[in-house]
């Protein structure tokens, strides 16, 4: 069983929900990411979504755009992100790591080479924002051959027939984008999310993570009552931006946010 599936299974047995923080690798500088990952795990994160910086992050709001710019100012490449994961794996063999980003850096490396390198590094899942299942036939097969989960997005605009198709193509978990918009935009409506999740669950047994618009303990807790996983990004990245000049403070400060969300979710 994949690391992601066993993670969700264990949580379910304990009656808890997954806390899934997102940070952009290499933001604000290459050395920060590894200690940050460990600190988030210690504070109660179950799965880490590690952003692969891209020059043209079309689906992201200003907060993550700037994170990409900071990471790219140090020339953080996909191979560097994979090295961070490999280093993380030297001391942590249990926490799943999901790479999140855009297709072009993977295109350039080549799907086959990427699948191999990601597997070698200990990556568990890949979420490529601009790669819908229709275009991912070859990519999906190569990832599957390396036991890497391909995680797809569902949106408020996704019609039911597509929900079924997308869930059939993906594995690990599905990511429900709770708002129409880019990352870091409007706050979400929990009741609406809950009714969408009911529809999604008619079509899949996979765990459902919810992201976009979760910004504090209260929204994390509210979502944890209806979803299997709570994905939080922009608030953390904002904190990283605030502390860009005091990098040694970043792991602790970000872990304070995730730790507090953890407590709120477990209450």
């Amino acid at each position: 069983m994949s690391r992601i599936s066993s993670c969700f299974e264990k949580l379910q047995a304990e009656g808890r929900k997954a806390l899934i923080p997102y940070v952009t690798a290499g933001d604000p500088a290459p050395g920060v990411t590894l200690p940050l990952m460990h600190a988030m795990v210690e504070s109660g994160a179950d799965i880490i979504e590690l952003g692969v910086p891209f020059s043209d992050p079309m689906a992201d709001g200003p907060v993550i755009q700037l994170a990409c710019e900071r990471a790219l100012s140090h020339n953080t490449r996909l191979v560097d992100v994979l090295s961070v994961v490999a280093e993380f794996r030297q001391t942590n063999q249990t926490t799943p790591v999901v790479l999140m980003g855009y297709l072009n850096p993977i295109e350039v490396m080549g799907y086959g080479a990427f699948a191999q390198a990601a597997s070698d590094a200990g990556v568990d899942g890949v979420l490529t924002v601009d790669l819908p299942p229709e275009e991912a036939v070859e990519f999906g097969a190569l990832m599957k051959a390396k036991q890497i989960d391909v995680i797809y997005l569902l949106a408020p605009t996704t019609v039911e027939s597509r929900i079924e198709k997308i869930c059939a193509a993906g594995s690990g978990y599905v990511y429900y984008v709770s708002v129409k918009g880019v990352t870091g935009s409007a706050s979400l409506d929990v009741n609406e999310v809950a009714s969408r999740l009911d529809i999604i669950r008619k079509h899949t047994d996979m765990p459902v993570g919810v992201g976009f618009g979760i910004r504090d303990d209260a929204s994390a807790r509210a979502i944890s009552e209806v979803a299997d996983g709570v994905i939080v990004g922009s608030v953390l990245v904002n904190k990283i931006a605030e502390l860009a000049d005091q990098q040694d403070k970043i792991p602790e400060a970000v872990a304070a946010i995730t730790g507090s969300m953890r407590q709120a979710m477990d209450k």
């Binding site: 992050p57 079309m58 295109e107 601009d130 605009t157 997308i166």
Partner: protein, 406 residues
């Protein structure tokens, strides 16, 4: 050159999923999938409807002023001493460029979908002006995204858009040019997808945009083909068009795809020279990748990050290109080359002085290529050049290069 059978297939592209061979497709985040599928259905239904075609043709005739003339530039041809140069006068369209053919078409789609708001991205501002124009006519709300750098370069067009009632949103992310304006327009669309129609200004983006923009722009090639047969009694030997995202070029090329004897030459922006890396020539000097919803030739680094571009003409300053051009290049049906800033500026001055026609800096790239090719060809041969737009918008830029303040 591909075989007749291969050309027949090429003419029918894209496939159901919007692929032109290995290129094109629909690489977007899930939030936009439903909107793109809806747009595709709307477009296919309306495009097959004779009433829609009639409406489109009527607007092109009475609002845009089509057909645009095909003009034999005799004096320029004589001076160059070779092929006869014919100019397809898209500069004479209402709003001054080919861009309006597409915005008229997409605005009709917007009207049929009932969306009250349109957004657009723009580089040189011609597409922004064309969008603001159709929005004014149809009473739609209009917001245009434009890179901060282009807002500075194209002040006249920014003011024109404002007069037309549109709001110009200056984009300061990334390289502050066309690609960033497109990113920002996509972000807007994701957020406001329920009430907003996104008018993409070139034959790029996710399916069905490359196809529908091509279809709306193909009026250029259909007219030019008939006009050339009528005036010269034969088809041209070569077509020349500048390539930014590729809409004026594909509009000219597409009706000629099966005319295997007609060469097709697309001209990209060579900027300061391909060897300097400061250019906007993905087909000539880039490689395939995925950006803005489609797979196509791109300017990118070894890690897959999109590179900044440079061109004296804002409308060519884009690191990607429409996927159909990538396909036509790879199957060997069309050729692509680059013209540098200074060659384009020379062509701008020369056409103005010799023919009394001031071309847009984008179109000047195509003129410069014709000036290179004509002397190597016979006097009975024909070069048909797409004069995609007029140069008034570029006075400011050229004057600045001349050290003159206007």
């Amino acid at each position: 050159m591909p075989t007749t059978a291969e050309l027949a297939i090429a003419k029918q592209m894209p496939d159901q999923g919007g692929h032109f061979g290995d290129f094109g497709g629909r690489y977007v985040s899930e939030t936009l999938m439903a909107a793109l599928q809806h747009l595709e259905q709307t477009y296919e239904t309306l495009w097959a409807d004779p009433k829609f075609q009639e409406e489109f043709d009527r607007d092109l005739a009475h609002y845009v002023g089509r057909p645009s003339p095909l003009y034999h530039a005799e004096r320029l041809s004589r001076e160059l001493g070779g092929a006869q140069i014919y100019l397809k006068r898209e500069d004479l369209n209402h709003t001054g460029a080919h861009k309006v053919n597409n915005t008229i078409g997409q605005a009709l789609l917007a009207k049929h979908t009932g969306k009250p708001r349109i957004i657009a991205e723009t580089g040189a501002g011609m597409h922004g002006v064309a969008s603001a124009t159709v929005a004014a006519r149809l009473g739609l709300q209009c917001q245009v995204y434009m890179g901060e750098e282009d807002v500075r370069r194209q002040v006249m067009n920014v003011y024109r858009m404002k007069l037309l009632g549109a709001e110009v949103i200056s984009v300061s992310s990334g390289t502050k040019t066309l690609k960033d304006a497109m990113n920002e327009a996509m972000r807007d669309w994701v957020t406001n997808v329920d009430n907003t129609f996104y008018i993409i200004g070139t034959a790029a983006g996710p399916h069905p945009y490359p196809k529908l923009v091509r279809d709306f722009q193909s009026i250029i090639g259909r007219e030019a083909r008939a006009q050339c047969l009528d005036q010269a009694g034969k088809l041209p030997d070569a077509l020349i068009a500048c390539v930014g995202g590729g809409s004026n070029a594909i509009g000219l090329f597409h009706p000629f795809i099966e005319d295997a004897d007609v060469r097709m030459v697309g001209v990209e922006a060579g900027g300061n020279g391909l060897e300097t890396g400061e250019h906007a020539a993905p087909l000539t000097a880039g490689r395939p990748g995925v950006l803005h919803g489609n797979r196509t030739y791109l300017m990118e680094d070894d890690a897959g990050q999109i590179l900044g571009t440079h061109s004296v003409s804002a409308g060519l300053d884009y690191p990607g290109v429409g996927p159909e051009h990538s396909y036509l290049k790879d199957i060997g049906r069309a050729e692509y080359t680059a013209i540098n800033d200074d060659e384009a500026l020379d062509a701008f001055r020369r056409l103005t002085l010799v023919e009394g026609i001031m071309p847009a800096l984008e179109s000047s790239h195509a003129i410069a290529q014709a000036m290179k090719m004509a002397p190597t060809m016979g006097k009975d041969q024909i070069l048909l050049v797409n004069l995609s737009g007029r140069g008034d918008k570029d006075m400011h830029t050229v004057a600045a290069i001349d050290g003159i303040k206007v």
